[in-house]
């Protein structure tokens, strides 16, 4: 296997759900040896979350688990037993990184706090990824995607003025939290490597969102500076020329606002007479409701003749900011994403071949790679515990006594 960016980095993964696993997935995808540690029997709760292959709710057929845990090895370990915790400490001794996502009282309750881990391995980078962080009055509170987005993100400004705020829909905030957690881990890991010394990284998904999903960070400081803020859900797009519009086979998105883009749009549409009034180029004109209705009627009339593919090609020729509104089906056949190698066919012992997503970015010397599919529950027990010196009959005993 080619040398990858994080080859040789050993990560113990106690995370579950999305944010933590997405953090460790990012590390695994670029070469780290991530050992996912699951509780014996049921494993990570994500195993019981869909989408399931063939809608069969089998713990080895969860698409969500498959996606989040590709490239990781998997073991079972019962941290509620003293023997389990001793074995865990043996693993910690040889690890570079530990990532966990329990509520803050859990690891100390098990005798596995950062202070305890530091005694076992002074150079360890431990990262705790939670909704609200390790300290503060909300530290033990529970959050889901929508709850944490409503608190850390700009949900209050999202949607329509007369209606309730609307969330991202599919989980997005927790993925962002997981990616920022990976930055926190990577920073501490680099520091440990170059300057020495371990670290406890405290990631609050709420704080990763404040900082700065959707201009939140700017909106915060703008309030401190000016005393003003956007209280509700008035349009944020800056003008009706920025938005989503219907066409022959679906919808497209464009940002045609302003003195540079609007003329390009007009040119693309063959300079329609109805939009020739120079008032359309002014900031007031581009937010005026009457002019908006006229604009939308003209665009609709024009766009209904063309497919998304035709429109994006015309937009490219005219230098207009534009993209199709794609479904997952469109993405699967998208000519750019396919040409760029954005998809990966991955072999899994139970699921067979699964067409999955590829790399978030490319690295010219150390490319992203699929080294292994998501692990079956306890799949690498013999291998990983064997590396610690446990023989097969030791493992049988540990299994029978509920340790693994």
């Amino acid at each position: 296997m080619a040398d990858m960016a994080l080859s040789g980095v050993k990560v113990l993964d106690l995370t579950h759900h999305v944010a933590g696993p997405f953090c460790t997935k990012t590390l695994a995808d670029y070469g780290a040896d991530v050992i996912k540690i699951e509780r014996p029997g049921s494993g990570d709760p994500a195993r019981s979350m869909g989408p399931f292959q063939g809608d069969d709710p089998h713990p080895e057929k969860s698409g969500l688990f498959f996606y989040l845990n590709t490239n990781k090895r998997g073991v079972t370990l019962n941290l509620k037993t003293p023997t389990g915790r001793e074995i865990f400490k043996e693993l910690v001794k040889g690890a570079d990184v530990l990532v966990e996502s329990f509520r803050p009282h859990v690891m100390p309750g098990l005798g596995l706090s950062y202070e305890e881990m530091k005694k076992v391995n002074p150079g360890l980078v431990m990262s705790s990824v939670t909704s609200f962080g390790q300290t503060g009055p909300y530290a033990e509170y529970k959050a889901t995607e929508m709850v944490i987005y409503g608190m850390g993100g700009a949900m209050v400004n999202t949607g329509q003025p007369e209606r309730e705020p609307v969330s991202y829909g599919v989980p997005t905030a927790v993925y962002h939290g997981g990616r920022v957690a990976a930055v926190g881990v990577m920073g501490a890991l680099f520091g440990a490597k170059v300057h020495g010394g371990g670290e406890h990284v405290d990631v609050s998904v709420m704080e990763t969102l404040l900082n700065s999903v959707d201009r939140r960070i700017s909106a915060l400081l703008a309030y401190e500076y000016s005393g003003e803020f956007n209280p509700g859900r008035e349009s944020q797009s800056g003008g009706y020329c920025n938005g989503y519009f219907p066409c022959q086979d679906g919808y497209f998105c464009m940002a045609a606002n302003g003195p540079i883009m609007f003329p390009r749009l007009l040119k693309m549409m063959g300079n329609p007479e109805e939009l020739s009034d120079p008032a359309f180029l002014t900031p007031q004109g581009q937010t005026d409701p009457g002019m908006r209705d006229l604009f939308e009627a003209v665009v609709l009339n024009w766009a209904i003749e063309y497919t998304r593919e035709q429109i994006v090609q015309m937009a490219e020729k005219n230098g207009l900011i534009c993209g199709a509104v794609s479904t997952m089906e469109d993405v699967d056949t998208d000519r750019h994403f396919n040409a760029r190698g954005m998809f990966a066919d991955i072999e899994h012992p139970v699921m067979g071949t699964v067409r999955s997503l590829g790399r978030p970015f490319t690295m010219s010397e150390t490319p992203w790679a699929v080294r292994r599919p998501a692990p079956l529950l306890g799949q690498h027990n013999a291998e990983v515990y064997g590396e610690l010196g446990y023989a097969q009959d030791d493992l049988v005993k540990l299994h029978e006594t509920g340790v693994i």
Partner: protein, 434 residues
Amino acid sequence: MGKLPLEGIRIVDFTVVIAGPSGTAKLADLGAEVIRVESIQEIGTGARIQRAKWNREQVKNQPIQRRQFPDGDPGQRPWNRSAGFNAHARNKLCMTVDLKKPEGKDILTKLVAKSDVVIENHATDYMEYKGLTYEWLKAIKEDIIYVRMPGFGTWGPYSKWRTFGSTAESQAGRSFLSGYKDMDATEIPWVFPADAGAGASAAFAIIAALYYRHRTGKGQLVDLALAENILTYLGAPFLDYTMNGRVAQNPGNRHEYAAPHGCYPAYGQDRWVNITVTNDEEWEGFCKALGNPAWTKDPKFADAARRWENQDELDQHIIAWTKERPPYDIFHLLQTFDVPAGPVMDVKDCYNDPHLEARQWFETVTHPEIERPMRSPGMFFKYKENPIRVRRHSPRLGEDNEYVYKKLLGFSEAEYKDLEAKGHIGMDYAPHVP
């Protein structure tokens, strides 16, 4: 306290708008010397401010989100007083150079020779036009790490498109999955997690590349397309399509199987609370929190499947309860019963929030051209052993010219003055800049 992780790493920062600067902010916070390369001859693509000249009247006429000067006053140098820029530029440095002039490229060459990383997020042809390719950089410094973040990547069928986060996300399928469940795609909200998402991945890519270089001595080129990065958040709906042929639709505020799951009106003007009950234990906790009202015992809500089927009716009962109570009261009460719930917070709520206060998340920053210290957004994550924090205010335009030109690049006093006269060095935009 020891060294910060990226102390000693120098990053040449050409980033603009949100995605790039959000990434370099993380690196600057981690101790890297992030040098923003700007010009006093032009504003550029919304790097620091929309335009140089402002008066109070113009500020008042802006939509609220653009009135981002202290007390509405743009001051002598508005470009140093904009919240939009100052929010993410903490801990960074700023030098000015005019890359359109012949000496500009030479100055940049000298800077790259002493740097570890170069990062940009312009349209693909912008950097090529300026001659700033990976090959050019590598010839100056063999082990340079170069990160490029255009909307769709540096090559491929869409690589020449003009893009914003909005169009990158819509092509990548995220936009279709958002918005109210009962509305069509024309009402997709204008929000873009792709920008900050790309920034996070850029920061990760840079540190991973530095880690590899520390081991092998080799640099490399990173190609990070906004559209591709946000696509990697969509593993679940993508696999539902490839495995099962199901094309995901936007769920709005509802969930595929959990109920109640929604954003409910609370007591107060435009006040809301999110309540999400994901299992039977949480449902029991929820009922207890409400005092076990009779309606919760209706057979229609007896199990998770039925609650999901009847959630329209369920939501009506909940609204009747929530609208009488302020969002924070609901939040704390439900959390006491282990139910995931939370207020929908506005920026004022954030500044008043007791948790963020206890976490000391906001940091007080003083700035040489802002009349009072400002409580500013803090760190992306916390370190216990070697804490990271705001070490310096966001740089003024050209604030670090003396340091970069004289100390770092070794220009003499006479050469410095000459470059000032030629329009490279300064702290004010040239008079012709609008």
